[in-house]
């Protein structure tokens, strides 16, 4: 354990962390009529918003260096920088509700992101086949079989949507989703919550210092 270095940062993290954490169990103290816990959370949100600006500068710097050094794929970086500057200039001058800004969002960003979501469906189908061919064990068979059963119980059938078999599959899907899936998910969520709590406690205690030593 190291208790040297950035004592100020660790102290701030400890005090703020304790105030916010205890606010979940006790009535938060007031300072001049202001809820201290809520105030600290609002400050965190403001700082995070400012950090987004730093992230954008980082994004710009990475691609500027690529263009400058003419590294592999630099034309893509040049396109990114061009639209980055165009978007920022238009946004700053005319505001986010400007018609061209909406056009850029609706006809460039939205279709690309929707395309990636569509790609995800194909990717998962392919991953399912690859999964069962690479991992030949009980868990992979259960995983893929369950996915197929849920898909069949959830999707409209080309033929016989009103048949007894279709109704049986729908009931089977409901049983899997409402009993097995929920039970498993609750167990996983409990484990994740325990892990998240210890991670937070380590940061508050100063054992983990993501803000640097």
């Amino acid at each position: 354990m190291r208790f040297r270095g950035n004592v100020f940062g660790a102290s701030v993290a400890f005090i703020v962390g304790v105030i916010v954490l205890l606010g979940y169990f006790f009535t938060s103290p007031l300072l001049g009529g202001v809820d201290i816990r809520q105030l600290l959370i609002q400050w965190a949100a403001i700082i995070a918003a400012a950090a987004l600006f730093l992230g954008l500068i980082n994004l710009f710097t990475v691609h500027w260096n690529k263009v400058n050094d003419q590294t592999q794929g630099w034309p893509y970086s040049a396109v990114l920088i061009f639209f980055f500057l165009v978007t920022i200039v238009l946004g700053v001058i005319f505001g986010p509700d400007f018609e061209v800004m909406n056009l850029l969002f609706n006809y460039i960003q939205l279709p690309i992101e929707a395309g990636l979501i569509a790609l995800l469906a194909i990717t998962l189908a392919y991953a399912g086949f690859r999964f069962i061919s690479h991992r030949k064990d009980v868990f992979s068979v259960v995983f893929v079989s369950t996915a197929l059963l849920v898909l069949m119980g959830n999707s409209p059938w080309l033929l016989g949507s009103d048949s007894t078999l279709a109704a049986l599959m729908a009931n089977l899907r409901a049983w899997i989703v409402q009993v097995w899936s929920v039970a498993g998910a609750r167990g996983i969520i409990l484990g994740v919550a325990l892990g998240a709590t210890t991670t937070g406690l380590r940061v508050i205690l100063g054992a983990d210092r993501p803000y640097g030593d």
Binding site: M1, L21, Y24, F25, T27, A44, A45, I47, A48, A51, L52, F53, L54, G55, L56, N58, L59, T61, V62, N65, T71, Q72, G73, I112, E113, L116, I117, L119, L120, T123, L124, A127, G128, R130, F131, F143, A185, G187, I188, I189, L190, G191, V192, L194, G195, A196, T197, T198, T199, G200, L201, R202, L205, A207, D208, R209, P210, Y211, G212, D213
Partner: protein, 247 residues
Amino acid sequence: MIDSLGFLILLIFLGSLVGFAFFGDRWPVFFRPLPGYEELGNELERAVESGDRIHLSLGTGPLSGFESAPTFAGLAILAKIASSTMMSDKPLIVSTGDGATTTLAQDTLYSAYRNAGAESRYTSTYARMLGPTPFSYVAGIPALLSQEEVAVHILTGSFGIEGALAADFGRREGVFVLAGTEDVQAQALLYATADYPMIGEEIFAGGAYLDVGVFHKASLRSQDVVRLVIVAIILFGVLLRTAGIVP
């Protein structure tokens, strides 16, 4: 109004965490083998020896709220991996989808370089934000993997369904993919797309398995203690309700 039970569990958590951190050596334990972390150790050594690049993704989630926990877990192992790979020809690269996480990743990397006396080798663009939205972030992954000649692709942070694409891009490049997140649905997708998916709280166990510090090993032990307490409370509640003592 005090949430007595929750506060009691928190105190047990805190007491067991600090207790195991300071006195855990008196009762040594063995952690169950996790193939992903065992193989990661081998892959890190191989990557450093062969001069290959390692990429660590801290996810797309914000630093505020529940999604921050896996990001902090990722930052904890970042310093460890950075210190063991900084002398490589191709040092570790970190990517995020959030500005605040990028800043913390830069700080963590810089601290690791400074502690090793290698500040001159540090460049702020070793940690980079690929995009401010989940899918713009993922869209930047293929170019990063191919242009930076990545051989080890670690995803440890907050991801939604876009994490499946991030992992699959790694599989397509033929690189080692270790992936975990806190989101249950995303974990199911990573189970199919990653070489070594981390399920449940395994994402938070990286520090203990990579030997980051005593508090990380104590964390696993305190989690087990609190888990047993919660299971006992649940069983007690089931018994009371079955007996008709509580409605």
